[in-house]
Amino acid sequence: MFDLDRWREIFQAISKNKLRTVLTGFTIAFAILLFTLLFGIGNGLKNSFAEMFAGDANNAIYVRSWKTTKPYKGLQVGRRIQFKNDDYKFIVDEFGDDIQYLTSLYTKFVKAIYKNETSNYQLRGSHPDIQFLEELVVEKGRFFSEFDLKKKAKVIVIGRLVEKDLFGRRSALNKYISLDGFNYKVIGVFSDPGGDNDERYIYTPLSTLQGMYGNTDYINNLRLTFRPTMSNSEAIAFGKKIKKKFQEKHQVAPRDQSGIIIQNMAEANQAVGAVMFGLTVGILIIGLGTLIAGIIGVSNIMVFVVKERTKELGIRKALGATPKSIVGMIIQETILITAIAGYSGLLAGTAILRFIKPTLEEYKIIDPSVSDVLVIGATITLILSGLLAGYLPAKRAARIKPIEALNAG
């Protein structure tokens, strides 16, 4: 119910008692300021944590091989498991339905020469799916295709920094680079959100690389992403199933941790999820703690405010103010002060966050900010806390006998 007269009374009480208003307001504004800052910085921490795990698909599974550490079916310990092209076919045949992208990876260190510039890079032979698995962004030209793979085309896609190293500011597109003495045509340049190191790779079709170095069918490892619709627990089970099948295929003891190594992002996700959850809970506790401290502070001040006003309230009662009108007046006043002060605190907090953002980002706290939902939530909390902070003292003030109030000095 909007009562203009009531609001007039309140505005007068507030504006004629500035010190009191400022004290009450300052407490809540400061609490909300702290709340916003803590929440903002906490969010920044979460953002930077999330960023650390960016750059690779988060539904990726790496399948690697190494020496066995347990004897199995008469085979010796220390046998080196070597993946070959038929392992790729094996995965396609066994798990094709559950796979989104799949590639083999075979790498060589090569010496790259373009005109007077020389440098060493990792040359990576792969299937075209590597583009999606590594989340490569093609900046210029194109990525190589299945057709290039089939034709063993001598084409390469180079990282942004490779182009910068060898070509300076000129474009590498359609130029030829010598890698260990063989000329390859640059058909594309990529960038990688994963960072610097990932932008110093050179990609070529797997068949091309295998053909260049002894016409082998060896590969180093396999990379894939599972179907995104898979749940995290399904994905963990899926990784274990791949491991089991590969162990059977390569005759590795089921309990051997070394022969076949599966690195499943689903398992990492679970850990990351737990840490993120912990971080969120921590931030929430700190934020709520600050808010509660603010509410308690305001309640305390309200007790004093009501005490200070006891005589005024007594006069009002003698003149015919009902207890309801006294409670209503104090609560409305408190809500008004907390809402305005809280909102100023919020504005100040977001302004400070924006101001210190560049500094924080030097310390790897990325985009410290609070969401609209949080802002609205905090404002509602504030109004409710104003209600709470005002209600009890107001109730007590209304109950006090007018004669006692009048005698209160």
Binding site: L4, D5, R8, E9, Q12, A13, K16, N17, K311, E312, G314, I315, R316, K317, A318, L319, G320, A321, T322, P323, K324, S325, A398, R399, K401, P402, I403, L406
Partner: protein, 234 residues
């Protein structure tokens, strides 16, 4: 207007209790101007607070304007005070951050009167007490006598049946006191019922009837014969 029968009131003092009013009988008719006298501790303030519904009695009957006062909750008491009673206090009890006009208009605010109307009416009453030009001054810009005149205007503005004054001149010098008493006399002449507490004989002499209290009972109740009629009529 006011009828009190066998009124008792005691205050708890730690484990024991202090019996302040001991079966008091009193009747005040409409238009009367009475003074209640007594030394401190005689129960005169307690009596006034009970009459003013600022405090409750323990035993006995109290009729205000023909209405039996019993089981009064705060809300009902507030409404009755607003409708029937006007207060004047020794320490004026003006709200410090409100100017004279706003102080006078406050009872009307609690009557639910519109702002323009109540300011108009408040100004009328300020004029009546001779303070029209001081309407927009804060209490701390007024002298003691002026403050009490504002309080008188505030007590009158709600059109009450009874005005209750607790040592209205207690904080004023004798000259100012006389002025305030003259104002109260005039109000009484217009038909208002007045109950004044005082311990000053001179002040009491200006009323029509003096009631003396001692140890919670009335020891004397006598009419005042105004030898100097000038006070009443002038």
């Amino acid at each position: 207007m006011i009828r009190i029968k066998k009124l008792h009131k005691s205050y708890p003092m730690g484990k024991s209790s202090l019996h302040v009013l001991k079966g008091l009988d009193l009747e005040v008719k409409e238009g009367e101007f009475i003074a209640i006298m007594g030394s401190s501790g005689s129960g005169k303030s307690t009596l006034l607070n009970i009459i003013g519904l600022l405090d409750t009695h323990d035993e006995g009957e109290y009729y205000l304007n023909g209405e039996l006062i019993e089981n009064l909750n705060e809300k009902k008491a507030a409404i009755l005070r607003n409708k029937f009673l006007g207060f004047i206090f020794q320490s004026f009890n003006l709200i410090t951050y409100k100017n004279a006009l706003e102080n006078v208009a406050l009872p009307l605010y609690y009557q639910g009167m519109k702002r323009v109307e109540r300011n108009k009416k408040a100004l009328q009453y300020l004029e009546k007490v001779g303070l029209k030009d001081w309407a927009h001054h804060l209490p701390n810009e007024l002298s003691g006598g002026q403050k009490q005149r504002v309080a008188v205007a505030r007590a009158l503005v709600g059109n009450p049946k009874v005005i209750l004054a607790d040592e209205p001149t207690g904080a004023l010098d004798s000259e100012t006191s006389a002025g305030v008493m003259k104002l109260l006399r005039e109000i009484n002449d217009e038909g208002m019922t007045l109950v004044v507490i005082t311990h000053e004989e001179e002040i009491a002499e200006m009323s029509d009837r003096i009631i003396r209290l001692k140890d919670g009972i009335i020891v004397s109740d006598e009419k005042v014969l105004h030898s100097d009629k000038a006070i009443t009529t002038k």
